[in-house]
């Protein structure tokens, strides 16, 4: 376990990870938001962002990067609080996506970003049908007036600079997607007939991992996440992998692999629970909604 890397130029393969202190608590929880509610809000905001990414036809890498940036913004006592700032979680998701797309080959304009998020806020929380349609539903008013747009744009820039400041400009995100393909090739599992099936399953797990309440992209390196996704995908598609500890070739030990596999498998149940818990009720994404929800909880507790 002694071999380490310093500035050997592997930065494009590795991520900054959250420190134990950052994982221990968050600014929101210090502000009195219960953990389960915080988790629900995180999940809901990440879903919102993913839906926006699909509507904006952005590559999944960009969406994934923005979701990771979003989670980085939230963790730790110095992170962004759900209660404190005068912007909504929707603004934070929009700013994160806008910020990540900006220096890439798929830059999006503020008005594109804001319009899509505005539209989604109208149809929330049921995205699945819209994402498949080509044209947004006619009977929903998704237009932003010039004045509203101006206000929203200023808020977008403000939240963008807040995110950058909180992250100390650490917006570099290494993703496991290409590593995953690379590993499948190394294992000789991608060339076979079932190769595309296993790759698809593995990619699905990588996407799902973005939404894990365990914040896997903030706690594990991309190599480990890719390996776990392959392990699970191979089991699911009945592809045989070497009967040795092949994951060690990718510098993942058995313990991490085991944990990640369990974590990946648990996301589905988590998502179902969330759906059941909230039903058609909206997860609070603004400070006001959040306050109302907290009040409702207190009242329930008091048995009213």
């Amino acid at each position: 376990m002694a071999r380490t890397y310093a500035d050997s130029g592997l930065s494009h393969l590795t991520n900054s990870l959250a420190s134990p202190i950052q994982l221990e608590t968050s600014n929101s929880r210090l502000d009195g938001v219960p953990k389960d509610l915080e988790t629900s809000i995180h999940y809901e905001t990440a879903r919102l962002l993913q839906a926006a990414g699909i509507l904006l036809r952005l590559p999944q890498e960009l969406v994934a990067q923005s979701i990771v940036v979003l989670y980085r913004f939230w963790v730790g006592p110095d992170g962004g609080s759900l209660v404190e700032h005068d912007s909504t979680e929707q603004d934070v998701a929009a700013a994160s996506l806008y910020l990540c797309a900006k220096p890439s080959a798929h830059a999006i304009s503020p008005s594109q970003t804001l319009t899509v998020f505005h539209y989604l806020s109208r149809i929330r929380p049921e995205y699945s049908t819209t994402a498949k349609q080509d044209n947004p539903s006619e009977n929903i008013d998704w237009h932003l007036s010039e004045g509203d747009l101006e206000i929203a744009r200023n808020r977008l820039y403000k939240v963008e600079s807040t995110i950058l400041r909180v992250l100390g400009f650490q917006t570099h995100v290494a993703l496991p997607y290409s590593l995953c393909i690379n590993y499948l090739q190394t294992l000789d599992a991608s060339s076979s007939t079932a190769g595309s099936a296993v790759a698809k399953r593995a990619f699905a797990h990588l996407n799902v991992a973005l939404f894990s309440p365990q914040m896997l992209y903030l706690t594990y390196q991309p190599s480990a996440i890719a390996t776990a996704a392959i392990y699970l995908a191979a089991r699911e598609t009945d592809i045989s992998l070497p009967e040795t500890e092949w994951w060690e070739v990718f510098d993942v030990d058995r313990e991490d692999l085991g944990f990640l596999v369990v974590a990946l498998r648990s996301v589905e149940g988590f998502a179902e629970d969330e759906q059941r818990k909230w039903g058609q009720r909206k997860v609070p994404l603004t400070v006001d909604e959040l306050r109302a929800e907290l009040e409702r909880r207190t009242m329930l507790e008091n048995g009213e």
């Binding site: 500035d7 494009h12 100390g168 400009f169 076979s192 045989s240």
Partner: protein
């Protein structure tokens, strides 16, 4: 079963063998355990309690893999796995932790000052960014790219971005880049030198530049604004590439909608001048060629007054492009207006040889290579480092032997630079096909040509 790891007949035989081995192992294990239990019983009997039982019965954590069965296998040593040591992140610190010392320079991107970090006493360069969210669409993309590229490019010959800090209180939107302080830039330094760098020094400088470019290109970073004023040098003869305001990440194949507003005119490659929107690391290599020439003579190599003049100067020095030496160049957007002198009338070779008469043949070949009109013919940074020019005498001078110079940045304000500035983003990009290059060779057809290409004296 579809995968390579699927079962075959041989596998089945192998399986059977393995199974037998396993059985044997199991038997031995059971035997061993029985003996252990017996021993334990004895022990228990002797000291009268059995709490340790659980411990001994728990199977070993690590699954055994070696298959030389039968014998008692020693527990395998843990294999070493590569561990990534990564930094975390924390909110930007305040610029108040730094004492500003003196002003160094102002550019289109912001102000650079020399400063001392209070906690450590380190001298650093602090660059305050010019921010205008309404104009730039939030945080400027150039600054974002500069920060991302510098964070990704930790290299001995790339300026070190130590951290990004912000202002305090009312000025908390201000952003400053804290970088290592380097005493000189090559541009100012050359202006103050009486003689150009000697050949051995030029080689050392080029090798350092080459290694930085190799690293950047290996990491898919294009600098896109290499010039002597962006190349810093410390008092130990070490070079640091700076100013990544134009830099960006790219892929292979390169994206096809890259901006043309890159690279300061004098260092801009012919394909950019001709309007290519798909280009790659070879634009940096062209700039390196220009810098090579500049280091030899102390004068910028190709000082065009505008795009048209720049291209004409390039053709004067490097020869005239043809379908042979640059297939496909005529399809570039701005090439349509280009009227080339007819093939027969003039010899169109490069005059690098005659212009740099004291340079060795190997040196000329490297310079000619970097200044190839056809981007595909330019050497990569890696190929450049392996060039024979660096292996012939005089050998590259060790950096420690470099002369030292008084640092302008250290105390005094710098002289205004004579180099044209890098193109401004959002400025008026010449529309494709708009630049009229038809005047470049005007009258040339009529000129009487001697043996070779003559440098036009203006």
């Amino acid at each position: 079963m579809p995968s390579r790891w699927a079962e075959t007949a041989e596998d089945a035989a192998e399986d059977a063998r393995r199974k037998a081995e396993k059985e044997e192992k199991k038997r031995l294990k059971a035997e061993k355990q029985r003996r252990a239990e017996e021993a334990q019983k004895v022990a228990q009997q002797s000291n009268g309690h059995g709490e340790d039982e659980d411990d001994t019965q728990r199977p070993a954590k690590r699954r055994r893999l070696s298959e030389d069965g039968g014998k008692d296998v020693p527990v395998e040593a843990a294999r070493t796995l590569l561990r990534f040591e990564t930094p975390g992140w924390q909110p930007c610190r305040s610029v108040e932790r730094f004492d500003l010392l003196n002003h160094i320079e102002e550019g289109s991107y912001g102000f650079v000052s020399r400063a001392r970090e209070e906690a450590t006493g380190d001298i650093v360069a602090v660059k305050k960014l010019k921010l205008d969210p309404a104009r730039d669409g939030g945080f400027p993309v150039t600054a974002l790219r500069e920060i991302q590229c510098l964070n990704a490019a930790k290299h001995r010959h790339v300026v070190d971005l130590r951290e990004v800090v912000t202002g305090q209180g009312a000025a908390k939107e201000d952003v400053y880049l804290v970088m290592e302080f380097v005493e000189h830039d090559l541009k100012t330094l050359q202006e103050d030198m009486d003689e150009p760098f000697v050949p051995s020094e030029v080689k050392t400088l080029l090798l350092q530049l080459g290694s930085a470019m190799e690293f950047l290109h290996d990491h898919w970073i294009l600098h896109r604004d290499l010039k002597t004023s962006n190349i810093l040098m410390n008092n130990r003869g070490e070079i640091k590439i700076a100013d990544f305001g134009m830099a960006r990440h790219c892929g292979d194949p390169p994206p096809n909608n890259l901006t043309l507003l890159v690279v300061t005119l004098w260092y801009r490659s012919p394909e950019l001048l001709l309007g290519a929107t798909t280009y790659d690391s070879t634009v940096d290599m062209w700039s390196l060629g220009c810098i090579f020439g500049e280091l030899l003579t102390k004068q910028p190599l190709l000082q065009g007054k505008n795009e048209v003049d720049q291209l004409s100067k390039i053709f004067e020095l490097c020869g005239i492009p043809s379908e042979d030496n640059w297939p496909g160049f005529k399809r570039l957007p701005n090439a349509r207006t280009l009227r080339l002198p007819s093939q027969s009338k003039s010899a169109q070779g490069s005059i690098v040889r005659s212009k740099f008469s004291t340079l060795t043949n190997a040196g000329v070949s490297l310079l000619n290579g970097l200044l190839s009109l056809n981007p595909a013919q330019r050497p990569s940074a890696k190929e450049m480092l392996e060039h024979s020019y660096f292996r012939e005498d005089p050998r590259p001078k060790p950096t420690a032997m470099f002369p030292t110079f008084p640092s302008k940045a250290g105390q005094e304000k710098r002289r205004r630079q004579a180099t044209p500035n890098a193109p401004v983003r959002g400025g008026a990009a010449p529309a494709l096909g708009e630049i009229d290059y038809s005047s470049i060779f005007k009258g040339r057809e009529a000129e009487e040509k001697g043996g070779g290409f003559q440098l036009k004296l203006v």
